[in-house]
């Protein structure tokens, strides 16, 4: 009864969308549906890609549906088991495990996606999409992190505005020169942003821990391994930014990206998706460079959105879906995606073109892909919260760094165990 009810509700939710798609298709045409979440630039990019695809394949109709991010995962999860919804679907790579286990997506057809070619064509992340020798999804776009700096604040602090920090020590040193306070000691301009709710938890997890000589997880991502010397050093470095170096405060100006955009922060770590917003910011003089190194070691965090064919697509629909997916991950499509959304191509050839590598804005992010790691999240929100809490326990409750790291690692290990036991 549970299941029937779920199906009934899901059917009601997507019934309208399907009816819409059905009436729009002409006879003999194969109609497939593509789903993604709403993000204006992405919607524009997909619309353009579909228009181009239809020119090449007049017998395939592609219906493009998008939903607010907040509802997206629930809608997809409800629709596919009910036999409704998308034939080709965009997913966050961290969700793949669940979808493969529940057989909601099918292995990619070897004809269009030869298994041997996958590893050559894509960055190593593609490994995460392989189960029992078969690939279940292709990455289309990648996001990585980089360091943004405010050139005007650099000049005001007597620093060379064209020389952003290259090491962690330099970064701290620059930030200390930039930070400004009022007569009561309140920060009015941050040397650098400290904001765990933005990208900093990725920075600690995949960048700082590795740079201090450790690894956040075991090779199979089943064990949390940051309750280590490296993990403690990483958290210590992070909390010291506020407590010892006092280059900023956690939550300064509510959102770190707002502080940077308002010209109130000298240094800010953020993802490639921030480029669009910053380019439209008038009066802000900024640059972007690779994340700072430590002892000559660099690291980065990359996250991926992938496309997969759902188990709903069978027969001619499956063929059409595979064709569309192949088109979506062509080099030309990826270049268009980069131009429209600022997200980096997941195919090496498309990403590492000389023009992209030398690009003043995309370059640092693309170079970062070379040494980037992707966390195999089982529940990104919960795992993010565990690190947010680890920092809060030290900053707000004066817990020792060692205890806080230990507590975080235990909590995250339990989360992983619970997930894999299911």
């Amino acid at each position: 009864m549970l299941r029937r009810f779920g199906r009934a509700m899901a059917a009601a939710a997507v019934g309208i969308a399907v009816a819409w798609g059905g009436s729009a298709s002409a006879q003999q045409k194969v109609t497939i549906e593509y789903w993604q979440y709403f993000f204006q630039q992405r919607v524009t990019a997909v619309d353009k890609l579909i228009a181009e695809f239809k020119k090449q394949n007049p017998d395939i109709e592609v219906v493009h549906n998008h939903f607010p991010y907040a509802d997206y995962r629930t809608k997809v999860a409800a629709a596919i088991p009910a036999g409704q919804g998308p034939d080709v679907v965009q997913l966050f790579y961290g969700w793949l495990d669940d979808y493969i286990r529940e057989k909601l997506i099918q292995p990619l057809p070897a004809a269009q996606f030869p298994i041997a070619e996958m590893e050559q064509r894509y960055f190593p992340i593609v490994q995460a999409m392989k189960r029992d020798g078969q690939y279940y999804a292709v990455p289309t776009a990648v996001r990585s992190l980089a360091l943004f700096w405010n050139k005007r604040l650099y000049r005001e602090a007597g620093l060379d505005p064209e020389k952003p920090p290259q090491t962690l020590d330099e970064m701290v040193e620059h930030a200390k020169k930039i930070v400004k306070r009022d007569r009561n000691g309140n920060v009015t301009t941050a040397g650098m942003t400290i904001d765990m709710t933005a990208q900093d938890h990725h920075w600690i997890r995949e960048v700082l821990i590795r740079q201090f000589g450790g690894a956040p997880y075991s090779a199979d991502s089943r064990k949390v391994t940051y309750d280590s010397d490296a993990g403690r050093k990483a958290l210590q470095f992070y909390v010291d930014l506020q407590r010892v170096h006092q280059v900023g405060t956690n939550g300064f100006m509510d959102e770190s990206q707002a502080a940077f955009r308002a010209g109130r922060a000298g240094i800010h770590l953020d993802g490639s998706f921030r480029l669009g917003a910053l380019q439209n910011q008038r009066g802000l003089e900024w640059g972007v460079t690779e994340l700072p190194a430590q002892d000559g070691k660099r690291s980065n965090f990359a996250s991926y959105w992938v496309n997969a064919v759902t188990s709903k697509a069978t027969g001619p629909k499956a063929e059409a879906a595979a064709k569309f997916l192949q088109f979506m991950v062509s080099d030309a499509a990826m270049q268009l995606w980069l131009a429209e959304t600022g997200e980096l191509p997941a195919a090496k050839a498309a990403a590492l073109s000389p023009a992209n590598l030398a690009h003043p804005l995309y370059g640092p992010f693309i170079r970062g892909l070379d040494y980037a790691a992707a966390t195999e999240f089982v529940n990104e929100t919960a795992q993010r919260q565990i690190l947010i809490d680890a920092v809060d326990r030290v900053l707000l409750k004066n817990q020792s760094v060692a205890d806080s790291v230990k507590e975080a690692a235990a909590a995250e290990q339990k989360l992983l165990d619970d997930h894999h036991r299911k």
Partner: protein, 297 residues
């Protein structure tokens, strides 16, 4: 056909029409409210991630809840919202209504000013307050404190201050409604009682204690129940003022937010349903208590 309908009495015909008009809302409530409610009781005995087939686990979800420290912390927070929120809002609303009742000048305007927050979207209001609470240089409160050379406060960035900080706008938003209800209650007390009391030489304080407050009892009971349910279900303010996390360190997380996280971020529908059952039970008990209190007089 017309024979069957024609043979009905007038009362019977009225009943047929009443049910005809009621059919739609009844159907709506059964499908949208009662069925899912019953279903969530069922789901609470299953382990289900929304994607796969639900698996029957008996009382596992309830056992887990019993030994989940976060659940108990969240439970405590929820009652903290209730225990601080309800008395404070009732007393403040009564004081405002009591004095507003005696004000003739610009009475309507003042009443409207108190009512406006009640009509404002909770989300918009939560964000405005969130910005009020920010540290220097953007927070209004801290800028003021800093100007006066007083120590600035962490507000939402403190495990002790965050909950009252989130609660304040929730109380403020509900105030308008409560003031209006109190005003109606005050106006409903016959003037003759006051006259009689004054002739007997009763003072202001005596009148308030012996006449006004006892006669407002039904109003107070109603408001206590309505605001209790409101505080037990607090969500919008917390979600928007704490980045959806109920932080820092879960210090502001109410039960409803925990249910939301469990269901729609961790996709543990069974565990979330079990928590919902607990919340449902609490709300039911409070409603029954209200019915009992109102009936006893």
């Amino acid at each position: 056909m017309s024979g069957l309908y024609g043979r009905l009495s007038i009362a019977g015909k009225q009943a047929v029409w009443a049910w005809a008009f009621l059919a739609l809302p009844v159907l709506f409530y059964v499908v949208i409210r009662f069925w899912p409610t019953a279903d969530s009781f069922l789901i609470s005995f299953y382990s289900w991630n929304l994607l796969g087939t639900p698996r029957f686990v008996g009382l596992d979800n309830y056992v887990r809840m019993w030994s989940d420290p976060t659940f108990w912390l969240v439970f405590r927070n929820t009652f903290e919202y209730l225990i601080i929120g309800t008395p404070v809002s009732i007393v403040v609303a009564f004081v405002i209504a009591y004095y507003l009742d005696q004000v003739r000048f610009a009475h309507g305007l003042i009443r409207a000013l108190y009512f406006i927050p009640f009509m404002t979207t909770a989300v918009a209001m939560a964000w405005v307050w969130r910005w009020f609470y920010q540290p220097v240089p953007i927070g209004v409160f801290n800028n003021l404190l800093s100007e006066l050379d007083l120590p600035t406060q962490p507000f939402l960035r403190s495990t002790e201050q965050a909950l009252p900080s989130v609660l304040a706008p929730a109380i403020w938003a509900g105030l308008g409604f409560q003031v209006v209800i109190f005003l109606a209650g005050l106006r409903a007390i016959p003037e003759s009682y006051y006259e009689a009391a004054r002739i007997d030489g009763a003072g202001k304080w005596m009148i308030l204690r012996r006449i006004t407050i006892p006669l407002l009892r039904p109003t107070v009971v109603f408001l206590v129940v309505i605001s209790s349910i409101g505080f037990l279900r607090i969500f919008d303010q917390v979600f928007n003022m704490t980045d959806g996390s109920g932080g820092p360190l879960n210090s502001t997380k109410p039960l409803v937010l925990y249910i939301y996280e469990t269901a729609f971020q961790s996709y543990q529908m069974g565990y979330a349903a079990a928590q919902t059952v607990v919340l449902f039970t609490i709300l039911l008990l409070i409603t029954l208590l209200q019915l009992w209190l109102l009936r006893s007089k």
